[in-house]
């Protein structure tokens, strides 16, 4: 039955630096048609309070190897890159050279130049590059997209997006180290909404204006921006704003969420893909029991289908690059407080 064995897709998860790796590994392990290994060579030296490296691999029950080289030498059909943002480029380039299809955690890169180099690398190697934007797969967004395209809102005038979460601190320290993350909440939280806007509007921004501050978590000595507001204009005249702040208090019972409100000439629709929950109070703290579809699973299914069917799964590296470009424009705008043309 060697045919059945070879039919299993070999997936290597490269790095546990991003906390999303945990969910990806769990889902991959649950699939009978996938063989999964993981490596996290920088985990031991990261100083993170959350488990990393072999310890986390053992908790998850995933086969662990000591280095990226070993993981790629295993001959994976596909890799999932979950490293610190700044290391995405090197890992994607190595994986592409090894002939693996790639799912890369967001943001694709910290600079548009890096993202463009990654696109060139996957094109040379003839492998697919998908960016981990799971919110695209939420039923509420799929429905919003359908309603907007069916004209339920008339002509779209404006969009308000929020992606507010708790700041990642001791458990994943690199998020607030600009040398590894590329910045603060701008880098972490602009791109999800930017991806949804890209999909919804099908247009490229003409100008971006952003402001940022570092009031939230100043007492923790955070050096990067923790609050930000980004206003985008589009060729059709549509205006959009993204609140990308790490403004969900650490005392909150949930990590935060994302909302998108689209206003058109016939009214508005607002989606909150992470709002589904049972709420209440325990002896000392509020209780928040989230439920709803596993967006990571839907995203990984799409990725794996692309791998096995030889198609380029969406959202791909091109939208990864466009959203990084928009994020870079916001960073430039925030330096002066004036709009930046794209």
């Amino acid at each position: 039955m060697s045919g059945a064995v070879s039919a299993r897709t070999k997936v290597a998860v490269l790095s546990f630096a991003h906390g999303h790796a945990t969910g990806y590994v769990r889902y991959l392990l649950s699939r009978l048609d996938v063989e999964v290994i993981a490596c996290d060579p920088d985990g031991a030296t990261s100083g993170d309070t959350g488990p990393r490296g072999l310890e986390l691999a053992n908790q998850l029950g995933v086969t662990y190897v000591g280095s990226t080289q070993e993981a790629l030498a295993w001959g994976p059909d596909a890799v999932v890159v979950c490293s610190e943002n700044i290391n995405h480029r090197a890992l994607v380039e190595q994986a592409a050279a090894a002939g693996a299809q790639i799912l890369c955690e967001k943001p694709l890169a910290t600079t548009a130049a890096d993202a463009a180099a990654m696109l060139a690398a996957v094109q040379r190697a003839g492998v697919a590059l998908m960016v981990a934007y799971p919110v695209r797969f939420s039923p509420s967004f799929v429905d919003l997209l359908a309603q907007v395209r069916a004209g339920a809102l008339g002509e779209v005038l404006a969009v308000m997006g929020t992606n507010n979460g708790q700041i990642p601190l001791s458990e994943r320290q690199w998020f607030t180290d600009p040398a590894l993350s590329g910045g603060g909440c701008f880098v972490d939280h602009i791109v999800h909404c930017a991806d949804l806007l890209d999909s919804l509007l099908g247009q490229q921004a003409t100008s971006v204006r952003a402001v940022s501050n570092a009031i939230l978590h100043a007492e923790a000595g955070v050096q990067v921006e923790t609050g930000g507001m980004v206003t985008i204009t589009y060729p059709s005249g549509v205006i959009a704003t993204i609140d990308c702040s790490w403004s969900q208090p650490m005392s909150a019972p949930s990590w935060g969420g994302l909302t998108l409100e689209v206003v058109g000439t016939k009214g508005s629709i607002k989606i909150s893909p992470f709002a589904s929950h049972v709420g209440g109070y325990g002896a000392t703290d509020p209780i928040w029991l989230p439920y709803g579809p596993d967006l990571d699973a839907a995203m990984i299914d799409t990725f794996l289908r692309g791998v096995t069917e030889g198609r380029n799964p969406q959202p791909d590296g091109q939208v990864g690059l466009r959203t990084v470009s928009l994020m870079n424009a916001a960073q430039r705008s925030a330096l002066t407080g004036q709009p930046v043309a794209l």
Partner: protein, 337 residues
């Protein structure tokens, strides 16, 4: 204390949000209007008077409920007659109009207040009080939204007359943002569709971003939507130690689930079973007019709110963020009265 004699000017939309509450407070109310005074008087038991001088003659306080462009002349007239004045927002069509009114009030020694009623909405007042008490630490990122079916009277869509959605509607949240997070240093705004040929589109959305002195960021969304769209407001104020949220869609005391669709919405906020914020507002101003404590909103607040709206309009016109300096806005300048 003698009964407060209030002279209302105007019998349009917002006068219906003032008249019954003046009556409820026990004021003796007269009204003068170019149209509709008799009907308003009949509806609420007021006395309609035929001329403005007669209104000034029989009132202690003048309550201006007229279109924006008339505020300057009417306020100056009332101040000239030695009356205290409550003026619907915006205080003036321009910063200059607002400052001329303020200068005249100082010279005459009368009280003039802009009716920024949202400061009296209990959810906004509760948020302001908690933030001021330090409940969420220093405010850092604030979002406000306000929208629903747009105004109906045509003058709202005439840029010259109303100043558009930013001066007429979003001024509420411009004032809230400043009241909550402090003075403003920069203003950036976008609007879609743009104002063309002096006409504000019937359906329009604008986004304004303020930067405050302490670095806090406020975002304000205003919507004039299609007919039948519910009026909704929301805010979220995030600070270093917590967050406060309100959404008029959720958490009300009455939740209806009716077979027939609701029709007949209004540009003004829906009435609720709780005390009207307009009543709370008029009560506080009435006390001030009768020698009581300073109300929560003062004349300078009215000037600065207009200046913020004007800066937002300048930002839309230039595509640039506009620097803002409250002390420069308020700096004394001699106006020809």
């Amino acid at each position: 204390m003698p009964r407060l004699k209030v002279g209302m000017i105007g019998a349009g939309g917002v006068s219906h949000s003032h008249a019954p509450h003046w009556v409820a407070l026990g004021a003796q109310v007269s009204v003068y209007a170019v149209a509709g005074a008799q009907e308003l008087a009949a509806a609420y038991g007021l006395t309609a008077v035929p001329t403005l001088p007669q209104l000034f003659g029989c009132s202690d306080v003048i309550d201006i409920c007229t279109p924006t462009l008339t505020h300057r002349e009417l306020a100056l007239g009332a101040i000239g007659a030695g009356k205290d004045v409550l003026c619907e927002k915006p205080l003036g069509r321009t910063v200059e109009d607002a400052k001329v009114i303020a200068a005249a009030a100082r010279v005459a020694g009368v009280q003039v207040y802009p009716a920024h009623v949202v400061r009296f909405f209990p959810e906004y007042a509760a948020m302001h009080e908690a933030v001021a008490a330090g409940a969420i630490g220093a405010p850092a990122v604030l979002r406000f939204s306000r929208g629903g079916e747009g105004a109906t009277s045509d003058w709202f869509f005439d840029e010259t007359a109303s100043g558009g959605i930013i001066l007429d509607q979003m001024i509420h949240d411009l004032d809230q943002a400043r009241w909550t997070a402090g003075e403003v240093t920069s203003v950036f705004a976008v609007q879609n569709p743009p104002t063309a040929g002096g006409r504000i589109p019937r359906n329009v959305v604008a986004h304004v971003t303020l930067t405050h002195v302490n670095g806090a960021i406020s975002h304000i969304q205003g919507i004039w939507g299609p007919k039948g769209m519910d009026f909704r407001t929301s805010f979220e104020v995030a600070g270093g130690a917590g967050v406060l949220r309100f959404d008029s869609c959720a958490g009300g005391t009455t939740v209806a689930n009716l077979a027939a669709p609701q029709v007949g919405t209004s540009y003004l906020p829906p009435a609720s079973a709780e005390e009207s914020p307009y009543l709370s507002e008029l009560r506080e101003f009435a006390r001030a007019f009768q020698g009581g404590p300073r109300p929560r909103v003062c004349l300078d607040d009215g000037i600065i709110a207009v200046a913020l709206a004007q800066a937002a309009q300048a930002s839309i016109a230039t595509g640039r963020a506009i620097e803002f300096d409250t002390s420069a806005v308020l700096a004394t300048k001699e106006f020809a009265l």
